[in-house]
């Protein structure tokens, strides 16, 4: 043990000395060269000084060279002349008062009388600025001897900043060196330690730091701690109205979605209706459809110039914008979430319970109301909360369809992009965070613990006929109606591609397709490229995090798990806004780059990827990994040769979801796009806002095609994995 300590300390000492020496040398070199340049500048300048009437020259020089402040001292003491400072303003007086008290002032003047330049090598501070002082002899041409001294004040901030930068780098290098040396020396599993450090770094910088910055911004006013922003936000009637609007919308959507989700889940798991595959596809389709697509078709069908409202029914005063339109669109888009949760729950309820009830002479209705329904209650609550969270955080649908109805997500967006009030926008999305966080916490930590359902892992196979034929027909009809509605919505978008001018001219044309693809090809390319880059990185990172969470014990594990899960509960708008706030200045100047969009995708996907990674890894017998270790494989080799191959199907499945969600992202991305990097969904929004519905439809359809192609393509290669369907979609 002692040996290790000695070695580590020895190497650290050598390393530190080396690093310090290198950086000191660099700094000294730079300073020397810079000072040399300043000296030369000073000499050049001194040659242009007139023998009298300096004022003009001084002001002209100050204008021309903002980094240099010249002052003049007349007279040559060596020749017995009276030496006096040339003062033409209070500022000059202040300068000379200060300069003449400097210990080297007289020496500087003296040097110039011998025709030498004196450059005081150390930086001094003048009125809060770092400066260098130089004394240059003034030798006017007509006189040919030193008639005075040109005192120059050089701005030293560049040199100082460079010095600071070098020092910063040196410190970073030293810290890195120490980390590496000590980790290698003392840890039994250095790769694990590096992995943990890197994961914490990523999670800290890209999750904790931006959120902290966002919070901090709301607590500052002109750089000082203040609750002004909060007071403003919380007392403003408009915002409170928006908060209420979001909550009301959430409640309505969650309730209706849960009902529809339960309808589908119950009918598909507890009865033997025909076309189960079709209906279950219908119930999961909206998950992969692009944002704005449902709003688009609602407007096309039911708007004031809608196909159904205007053309077919001839109504003229229909306003689809507002709460009713939003509830319909959100419900259609989010009931799959409820469906997936509820079908999982219902499948896991052993039909033995229902059989026992029937055996005890309970009627079908009684079985449902006293056994099935109560056992599903935690699942129903779970589904409700999940949809509620999604609805409040929803940004895309209200952006177009809300009309006069205010919701908080859109208000936050307006403050940031419209009014450039980052602090208010941040505060508003933080307010939005409260209900989502509460709902998320409730769902995860209270309800899921109260589940009465034993997940035995094997579905009981037999489906009991718990409904009468009449009820069965009714359920089937209801599902059919909803599915039909859904299909018509999607069909409308596809149709919209070929219609000249929806609502006005229903003629057939290919022009929309041509124009949209031409104008949108950059956005399509960008979006696909960035999603394609982010997807494998997100997937791998999630798998690594899942692996160390499941298989390793280390201090701070709980913290890492919590941090990784945070983006799950945070609305996209808050993520986007906090990214803008945190990453718009060096050293992390990422705003406007592709990097920030990719990082955003990765962070958004991390919780879901980690969760499914953990679920998959838990299914692998730990003996398999231990066997590999006992045969000589270290952590990285075990991951590479054993874990990765075994989780490949689940891994690829989760990759396809990541790709889909990155392609269809809106709420965070809308803040991060720039002229260089655009997103196809934002383009769809722009076209919709400009009433170019044809173009919007084309882009939406293109997006759907890309997404479906990737999604089904991967599933075809890998095979279905039903546990993956439980991933919750947020935009």
């Amino acid at each position: 043990m002692k040996n290790k300590w000695l070695k580590a300390i020895l190497f650290s000492a050598i390393g530190i000395i080396l690093i310090v020496w290198v950086f000191r040398t660099l700094e000294a070199e730079f300073t020397t060269i810079s000072i040399q340049r300043l000296k030369e500048a000073g000499l050049l300048l001194s040659q242009s000084v007139p023998s009298r009437s300096y004022d003009q020259w001084v002001s002209a020089t100050r204008q021309q060279y903002p980094d240099i402040l010249p002052f003049i001292s007349e007279g040559n003491a060596e020749f017995g002349e009276e030496v006096r400072a040339v003062i033409s303003s209070a500022a000059d007086q202040a300068f000379f008062d200060w300069a003449q008290s400097l210990p080297f002032y007289d020496y500087g003047l003296e040097s110039t009388y011998y025709e030498e330049v004196y450059f005081y090598p150390k930086r001094v501070e003048w009125e809060g600025h770092p400066v260098y002082l130089s004394f240059t002899p003034i030798i006017p041409e007509e006189l040919g001897y030193v008639s005075g001294t040109l005192i120059l004040l050089h701005d030293g901030s560049v040199i100082r900043n460079y010095g600071n930068l070098l020092t910063g780098f040196a410190v970073a290098f030293i810290v890195l060196l120490l980390c590496i040396l000590f980790v290698n020396a003392f840890s039994k599993d250095p790769i694990l330690v590096y992995t943990i450090l890197i994961v914490f770094l990523i999670v800290g910088v890209f999750i904790a730091f931006p959120l902290y910055q966002a919070f901090r911004l709301t607590m500052l006013k002109d750089g000082v701690f203040s609750l002004e922003v909060w007071k403003y936000v919380l007392s403003n009637r408009n915002y409170l109205q928006a908060l209420w609007g979001s909550i009301l919308l959430g409640v309505l959507t969650a309730t209706v979605s849960t009902a529809i989700g339960f309808l589908f889940a119950f009918t598909l798991t507890r009865t033997n209706v025909r076309g189960k595959k079709f209906f279950s596809t219908m119930a999961t389709l909206p998950v992969i459809s692009p944002p704005f697509s449902l709003t688009l078709s609602m407007i096309l069908l039911f708007g004031s110039y809608g196909l159904i409202t205007r053309r077919i029914l001839g109504l003229t005063n229909v306003d689809i914008y507002g709460l009713d339109g939003l509830v319909i669109v959100q419900t259609m888009g989010m009931f799959p979430i409820a469906f997936m949760v509820l079908s999982g729950v219902l499948e896991a309820i052993d039909s033995t319970f229902e059989e026992a009830a029937m055996n005890l002479k309970a009627s079908r209705w009684k079985v449902f109301s006293t056994v099935t329904l109560p056992l599903s209650v935690p699942g129903i609550a779970s589904a409700w909360l999940l949809v509620f969270t999604n609805s409040i955080a929803d940004f895309a649908n209200p952006l177009i369809l809300a009309g006069k109805y205010k919701v908080l997500s859109v208000e936050a967006y307006m403050e940031v992009t419209g009014m450039n009030h980052l602090d208010i926008g941040a505060a508003l999305s933080i307010v939005l965070l409260i209900p989502t966080f509460l709902a998320f916490g409730l769902q995860r930590y209270w309800i899921s613990k109260k589940s009465y359902v034993t997940v035995t892992g094997k579905p009981s196979g037999r489906i009991l006929e718990v409904v009468s034929p009449g009820v069965k027909r009714m359920l089937f009809a209801m599902m059919a109606v909803i599915s039909g509605f859904l299909i018509s919505l999607y069909a409308t978008i596809v149709a919209g591609c070929f219609v000249k001018n929806w609502g006005i001219d229903y003629g057939f044309t290919f022009d929309n397709i041509v124009e949209a693809l031409q104008r949108g090809k950059d956005a399509i390319g960008d979006t696909t490229l960035l999603a394609a880059i982010a997807t494998p990185i997100a997937g791998l990172l999630a798998m690594i995090v899942a692996m160390i969470i499941v298989r390793k014990r280390f201090p701070g594990k709980g913290l890492m798990q919590a941090l990784v899960m945070i983006p799950y509960a945070v609305p996209g708008t808050l993520v986007g806004i906090s990214f803008i706030i945190a990453f718009n200045k060096p050293p992390l100047l990422l705003v406007g780059t592709a990097a920030i969009i990719i990082i955003n995708y990765i962070i958004r996907e991390l919780p879901v990827g980690v969760e499914s990674g953990i679920a998959t890894l838990r299914q692998i017998d730990p003996s398999i990994e231990e066997a590999a270790q006992s045969l000589g494989a270290d952590t990285a080799t075990v991951f590479r040769t054993i874990v990765l191959p075994l989780i490949r199907p689940a891994f690829i499945s989760s990759l396809s979801y990541t790709f889909v969600r990155s392609m269809t992202a809106v709420s965070a991305v809308i803040f991060l796009i720039s002229a260089k990097w655009y997103h196809i969904t934002i383009l769809i929004y722009n076209f919709s806002e400009n009433l170019r519905f044809g173009l919007a439809s084309v882009l939406a359809t293109t997006l759907m095609i890309i997404v479906l192609a990737v999604f089904w393509g991967l599933r075809f290669f890998v095979g279905k994995s039903s546990s993956m369907q439980k991933n919750i979609i947020t935009r």
């Binding site: 231990e626 006992s630 045969l631």
Partner: protein, 374 residues
């Protein structure tokens, strides 16, 4: 193949329980294993035997103490750097590789050239009786075959210590008996040091050169199978190794390792286990195995009783006799004519040379001992 010795010195392992409380899984154990010997860690669930094995393998680190393999202190060395190989209870075969790749994995890790891997894998599969199974996937094999692949995989890397974690628990009885013989045969042939963990005393008896009996994180007795069975040093060890009958005695005097004990006014000379020191302050019971008792129809025996049940086992009969000391089981060979029916009055005689004195711990009730011991 060079076998190594293994030694544990004052090893503790303390876990944190669910609500943060401390669980002492291994409580100061020390033992030394000679190279080439087959040692079994035997004990009930939770006694610390598996934890000890895992610490030798490197999957857990001791909270205190030292572990050496050969001359090397391996206490904090990770599992992949130790020269050990483990055979797991659930086999741990890699499902995405076939038998050949599974067995060759350890060799690949050691950067053995491919052709050599092929040869060594064939040889070892031959040894375990799975000739030609290289291309089969693990899922197509039976439990016994899978376990043999796991064994082959561990053997082929020629470790200095071979570790077994209850490898036969998932197999049926016949297979278990078969595999036991195989494992012992292979260990003898290769001369490797083997450490085996089990709660099955028959396995321990048939496989081991040395048995280390553990309870509650401590070592209770170490010895050959003979020592443990015939000369247990405590009621716990005696009871763990098989059913015992216990009789209360009063120790009148000690003669070296023999105690002069009184039962029913008769004086008996009974010895105590080699590893136990006689102590005047302790209470002792006289114990013997069911095979060392004899049932008499008349009053010839020393202990009177009534037959409660007779259980026919095929190769023997277990008779449960109600006596004043509780229900005592007697195992006799099958002689139909001597079978005393239930309810009949009988008496038991005890073979004095087959008894042993065991210390009676405070608060243990003789009646419950005779009923409880299995």
């Amino acid at each position: 193949m060079s076998a190594s010795s293994v030694s544990l010195t004052n090893v503790y392992k303390i876990f944190k329980g669910f609500s943060g409380e401390e669980i002492v899984a291994v409580n100061d154990i020390s033992f030394q294993i000679e190279p080439g010997t087959f040692v079994t860690l035997l004990g009930p669930s939770g006694c610390g035997k598996t934890t000890s094995l895992r610490m030798i393998a490197g999957f857990e680190n001791p909270t205190k103490g030292k572990i050496k393999i050969g001359d090397e202190d391996v206490t904090f060395i990770p599992p992949w750097k130790r020269d050990t190989a483990m055979v797991f209870q659930s086999y741990g075969l890699f499902p995405h590789m076939n038998v050949g790749e599974n067995v060759g994995y350890g060799l690949k890790m050691r950067k053995v050239p491919v052709s050599e891997i092929h040869d060594r894998v064939s040889a070892i599969l031959d040894l375990v009786g799975l000739n030609g199974f290289e291309d089969r996937p693990p899922s197509s094999l039976s439990g016994g075959q899978q376990q043999r692949v796991a064994l082959a995989r561990a053997l082929v890397v020629e470790p200095s210590v071979l570790l077994f974690d209850e490898p036969l628990s998932n197999l049926d009885v016949l297979l278990r008996e078969q595999m036991r013989v195989e494992i012992r045969r292979i260990q003898q042939k290769t001369g490797i040091t083997a450490i085996y963990v089990t709660h099955d005393r028959t396995e321990a008896m048939t496989l081991s050169d040395t048995v280390i009996v553990m309870n509650n994180g401590k070592i209770v007795q170490t010895g050959t199978p003979f020592d443990i069975y015939e000369e247990p040093n405590s009621i716990f060890v005696a009871g763990f190794m098989g059913k015992m009958a216990y009789f209360p005695v009063k120790i009148v005097a000690w003669e070296g390792k023999n105690g002069i004990a009184e039962l029913y006014d008769k004086k008996l000379t009974i010895h105590i286990a080699k590893t136990v020191t006689p102590n005047d302050a302790h209470q002792y019971v006289m114990a013997c195995r069911p095979e060392s008792l004899k049932i008499h129809e008349n009053g010839k025996g020393a202990v009177p009783g009534v037959v409660a049940t007779n259980v026919y086992l095929g190769n023997a009969i277990e008779s449960y006799i109600k006596t004043e000391f509780g229900e005592i089981m007697v195992k006799s060979e099958l002689h139909k004519e001597r079978l005393c029916p239930e309810g009949s009055k009988v008496s038991l005689s005890i073979r004095e040379d087959k008894t042993i004195l065991l210390p009676l711990e405070q608060g243990i009730d003789l009646l419950s001992l005779n009923k409880a011991s299995t």
